[in-house]
Amino acid sequence: MEHNAVKQILSCRDVSKTFYGDGKCTEVIRHIDFDVTENEFVVLFGPGQCGKTTLIKMLAGLEECEEGSISLENEKITGPRPDLGVVYQTTALFPWCTVRGNIEFGPKVRNKDKKETRKRADHFIDLVGLKGFEDSYPKALSGGMRQRVGIARAYCNDPRVLLMDEPFGHLDAQTRYMMEEALENIWQKEKRTVIFVTNNIEEAIYLADRIILLTNRPASIKQEFKIELPRPRDYVSPEFLKLREIITQAMDATV
């Protein structure tokens, strides 16, 4: 009933996907159905290799739905569109662009006003804490810093929805905690609808408004959890640990 109060923005209607190739069919996604409301932080949480990346690609319009449909504000997603921003696990930064070049890439290719773009980029460079690195190339940055650029790049294009595909998957534990805090911080300042994929339970509970637990391949929705702990959350508070136990058990039951 609460959906009446807030605006619904993205809906995933009964989506399925099977890959055909090498003489066999691999069913990756089976009847996934969920809605996301505006400025909600949704975490898609499931075991590794369960088809989460495929789901993100379909949400982004980079992969077709086989059955069902995905729509953004009642408009069907048929291809890549700039009001959906993606943050990749591999960062997918353009190595030949500087930090600024990467962050300004979206507005630039969409022929946005140059001065405006520069100001936006400055704002986000500051927000993700990369001041002083504007003219560095990605190869000179650490993994965490690269992902900061990735996040800033997605934000700078001003998307309605941000899709994040295990953005911190390649980082070491220490950096990961730092990045989770940073992301939370950014999100608090620049509210946006986020769909975040991960296989890390702590990360999921730390960031999510709602966790959608997926089963192993073919992925389907096992259970949903609303996380209503106050932010910023404490990794070792009893409530946090309790949730962690509940969700872990639910997940173990799926494997």
Partner: protein, 258 residues
């Protein structure tokens, strides 16, 4: 510490050069090789005087300029055509299907083997030389641009499309820069191949150029002239490849493997 290593290196170079020189002197004074082998004094005096005293119609500078000019014409033409054809093949499946079989059919033929046909087609003047030099570079540049463009990371293309880049922007801002390192690798090889092609072209038919110097040396039995020519060729070749990698480092400074 670093200085000591460097000093040792220089020491070895000097030691090697001295050894070479001694061996050379021994060869020309104490063995029968002196008939076919020039002595160091005549080689070096010729090397230095050749820059003021003409060999044939030109001084050494003139010959070097002739050869370099030919290389530059052929190389520039080849870079432009090769990059266009290669990237077309790498980014469009239809272009690949059309061009690749013909390209693969002609590729194993060494550029030098085209010389006789080139002379028949373009005469013995400059045009046939440009053709040979162009061909030598074209194959390398095309192949590398093709590989570079076809191996562009799909994720990067996807990322650019997500950010709002259309087909044309994906091409100019993703595929083109992404192929740059590979293209430069091709240009690097092409440069050496051009340098080699110009020598053969000049040896086969010409009245000037560093290739002419050495073949003229053979015809007149002037071994000193051959060695002088070879030294010049080596030095210029070295300068060309060094210049190419310098440009590459400037243009592709973002490349992680450099």
């Amino acid at each position: 510490m670093k200085k000591a290593v460097q000093l040792e290196k220089i020491g070895w170079v000097v030691f090697d050069l001295l050894l070479l020189l001694l061996g050379w002197i021994f060869l020309v004074t104490c063995t029968s090789a002196k008939d076919t082998f020039p002595d160091p004094v005549s080689v070096f005096s010729m090397l230095f005087t050749s820059f003021v005293k003409p060999i044939g119609t030109y001084t050494m500078w003139g010959h070097i300029m002739w050869s370099l000019y030919r290389v530059m014409v052929g190389f520039t033409l080849a870079s432009v055509t090769g990059i266009i054809v290669g990237i077309a093949m790498g980014s469009s499946k239809i272009a690949e299907a059309i061009i690749k079989p013909i390209f693969e059919f002609l590729r194993p033929i060494p550029p030098i083997a085209w010389i006789p046909l080139a002379i028949l087609w373009f005469g013995i003047d400059e045009a046939s030389k440009y053709f040979i030099i162009w061909l030598g570079a074209f194959i390398n540049v095309t192949l590398n641009s093709y590989v570079g463009a076809s191996r562009t990371d799909e994720t990067l293309i996807g990322a650019a499309r997500m950010l709002g880049a259309g087909k044309r922007k994906v091409f100019t801002r993703i595929i083109l820069p992404a192929s740059m390192p590979q293209i430069f690798a091709g240009l690097q090889v092409a440069m050496s191949s051009c340098w080699m092609a110009v020598l053969v072209a000049e040896m086969v038919r010409s009245n000037e150029g560093v290739g002419w110097i050495i073949i003229r040396g053979t015809d007149t039995g002037n071994t000193a002239q051959i060695i002088v020519g070879m030294i010049t060729i080596g030095v210029i070749g070295f300068i060309l490849t060094t210049a190419m990698s310098w440009i590459e480092r400037k243009v592709c400074s973002w490349n992680t493997t450099l």
